[in-house]
Symmetry: C2
Subunit: 600 residues, 2 copies
Amino acid sequence: MDEGRPVYAGDTAERLGMLRAELGRRGIDGFIVPRTDEYQGEYVPAASQRLAWLTGFTGSAGLAIVLPDSAAVFVDGRYTLQAEAEVDARLFARRHVTGAPPAAWIAQSLKPGQKLGYDPRLTTLGEVERYGAAAAKAGGSLVALLDNPVDAVWKDRPAPPCAPVVAHELRFAGESADSKRRRIAASLGASEADAAVLTAPDSIAWLLNIRGGDVPHTPLALSFAILHADSSVDLFIEREKLSPGLDRHLGPAVRIASPAAFGAALERLAASGQRVAADPASAASWVFDRLGTAARRVADPCQLPKACKNTVELDGARAAHRRDGAALTRFLAWLAGNVASGQLREIAVSDRLEAFRREGELFRDLSFPTISGAGSNGAIVHYHASPASERGLEKNSFYLVDSGAQYLDGTTDVTRTVAIGEPNAEMKDRFTRVLKGHIALALCRFPRGTTGSQLDALARAALWQAGLDYDHGTGHGVGSYLGVHEGPQRISKLPNSQALLPGMIVSNEPGYYKTGAYGIRIENLVAVIKLAGLGDGEVYGFETLTLAPIDRNAIDASLLERHETEWLDAYHAQVRDSLTPLVDPDTAAWLAAATRPLGG
Amino acid sequence: MDEGRPVYAGDTAERLGMLRAELGRRGIDGFIVPRTDEYQGEYVPAASQRLAWLTGFTGSAGLAIVLPDSAAVFVDGRYTLQAEAEVDARLFARRHVTGAPPAAWIAQSLKPGQKLGYDPRLTTLGEVERYGAAAAKAGGSLVALLDNPVDAVWKDRPAPPCAPVVAHELRFAGESADSKRRRIAASLGASEADAAVLTAPDSIAWLLNIRGGDVPHTPLALSFAILHADSSVDLFIEREKLSPGLDRHLGPAVRIASPAAFGAALERLAASGQRVAADPASAASWVFDRLGTAARRVADPCQLPKACKNTVELDGARAAHRRDGAALTRFLAWLAGNVASGQLREIAVSDRLEAFRREGELFRDLSFPTISGAGSNGAIVHYHASPASERGLEKNSFYLVDSGAQYLDGTTDVTRTVAIGEPNAEMKDRFTRVLKGHIALALCRFPRGTTGSQLDALARAALWQAGLDYDHGTGHGVGSYLGVHEGPQRISKLPNSQALLPGMIVSNEPGYYKTGAYGIRIENLVAVIKLAGLGDGEVYGFETLTLAPIDRNAIDASLLERHETEWLDAYHAQVRDSLTPLVDPDTAAWLAAATRPLGG
């Protein structure tokens, strides 16, 4: 799939004009264009990149609002610079989504009597409420437009994706779709629901043990589903996507229907008097409009079971991490041998890493676009190297590489920060504080019921001691050959009521970023495990899954406490023992040196 | 004030019968009797102890619901045992407030058509919503009764308290009431309010620099107030409470009115078109009923400014803690010299501590009833020693004493756990883990914006490593010659969005409790301070205010890291240097030994 910048017919001014003309024809004054599609997922297929088409902005989160005489693009802190580069300021005001939220802009900019349109398939209930209140405050109104006006004027709109849907084999999934359907159907009663609407494609993929390829990096089949109390499922998906034999895999309890039939099915369900669960966080307002009073607002019933991996999935994750660690270690050894040339640059280097990964068994894709940041580019948290932006890997700097892959047996996500030459004392101090936070989280134990929000400070305390911090979460959930970002758990400053439960996979990724100078992040994936024979109640801890050396040359060993040195040495011994059989002799020799005890 | 169990005319069955008869006369089927009074505070005067009168239960939190054929008392985990001892199970079912919440009981027990009464002066909006929904679910209804039926049949009801109200001098308050009134009045605009209703007596005490004595342990004058945008105040209080000269202290901008005039004043305010701020967390639903659409639901505007102590209050707190530390140290030295006799018992010992405190300058009261728990009684978190329950201080046990005082210049709250004889290895291990948690919190630094919820795990991590935990918060806010428990900050597992800000005083009190065996808690008060010259942004830390030795004999020094030993030694040096000049030579000699370096 092409991840470069898309090219559309006409210039932005022309396309904005076409949209305004279309709105005029419909008697509507304005329109809201979110980045998201009807699945509210992280990746959006080219056919649904309406925000990019309209504004040129290609970031993964954002929103435009078009009015007759003004328009604005709203992005978050990650994308301020990118929006400045991509969006024409003469056409769109560029706003920070938290500082000047869209609702406030609507309240200020809409004129009395004006009608602001929105596409209810792309908008959540919460958004409709906020935008509606803002429009009312301005004396205008918010109007649902089922027929998206962008689509009406987007002449060169790509076809929707139609990647084949295949079975996810039991030897990877560890639980049959039949068992999952029964288990989740049985849980509906607790939510006082007779059926559940599933609008998140990763939930459908997990429930039915299917995988697709409609978006980059996450093996999803874009689709909707309804799970009934009798454990049967209506799956709304284009029939031509189904690979040969998939019918047999799905079985007679899964009825295939056209996506176009989804709305009518919801209305029929509501009319039949059934109570229908739908997740206000992920289902569009359009779903709730169809369900009316039949809707029960509850969390997606697949989300938590999907997050808690079974033993087959955990074993798969361990195996995938061994192969992934071998590829990353081959890369790090290659880097160590070639960096002195002074010729290495960000894109070529990350291509090399990808090539090593592609040689691995069961490899299917990267799990996200590699972040390959040399020197000051490492300080840009969501950096994406381009020929214009890339830097060389220079002496006495840090090189940060955050990457991962989709294997049939597991999803990986790992960040290493490599010292090129000799980092200065401040850089080593910061690296070591990040490492101390990483170790504190890796070693921590906690009672049942503890949330990721409660643990977050453990990863930051060593930085906080020096008055430093990092402006991102400490850990996100990771799927099993599914999304590299998944909920409901999270390790973050933000409050989160989801307790960490055995089988959950989360990242452990503290960092430190000095703008214009360097970036540091140390990321391993860990699994929540139950610890036996300890203390007063049920106690959990983390098993580190990721296997790759952490750069000894970046550490100020005098800052480490004994238990921290012990953790690092034990981790490195495990990395060495696991990966040596999987790599060539030259890499093995480099690995032996890279993983020797810190005192040694 | 008498803190023993109150005695009422008649037995519980008789009183319950009288209430049911009164309800019958009014055509009401049931009634809700909360422990709280109309100020929603921690302490309730005898005249408002309706729950104790009706059920015999004297705990500080609870609720009874009376129906024609059934009745129940709801208490939380702290009071399960006490409710079993105090409440007649033949008259009242005894329920845990979280396991079987009152609303669920109402939904189950109320019969179709029945009317359940409640007193809107004693009930928050949230409670009215929950109880109302439950009653509706049962086919019944919730009915506001302005004239409390308990009061109608409570023959020997004590008179309401009428303690004198005095000025809190500027040399203790550090900011004039005039300045506070202007400051808070100026802040009303941000809440889009023209006036604010103050129903929390501690907010009124802070705002007007007044103190009273209507409830035990907290120098409050029970009263209501309305703060206007012009910074004038209507204070609703019995005129005879005002001590001579208080009019002059209050000044012409504070108008005195009878508490009976409060409701009409609210209605007048609403009718005049003003927007009136009221705090749904602390104001009764009755207030919102009076205000109607004029009400703005916002937090009490005095709460946060009151929590952030000014430099005069902080200096007062430091001085109060020196005197309090001297009294506690005299007590600990006395205890060390007398405990070998085997004759010391919980009540006599805590009386002795109180006597030492009463000798201190500016002492006014204890800040809460002392928790004096020997051996297994120390494991009862909210233990109150009685002649029936008290234990002797036995060899090879822990004695836990949690106590504090109200001084004119500050409020104290301190817990020490004393080793009597030689604690066993497990006890020392647990004590040392609690100490490690205490030190981790005392030493931590954190960026602006950090909440107590984020820091909570730092105090627990050392216990969590061994699979242990404690079932209470880690820290509560503390007032300045006001409530020993105050918000809005808190260090707790529970989510809390209030950032810790400079000047806030909080407790640092991790613990460990082994039921039937021993209890451990180490509590100091700390102040949030700004640290200069550190890191990337604004950085805060804690200054420990409490001064008293931590028992070296309970520590397993081999479990401490170097920075922990350094903290303890430095703390003990500070305790010794601060208190030696304030104590007699014998105590000074004991203190010198008790505070010598851990290695020494």
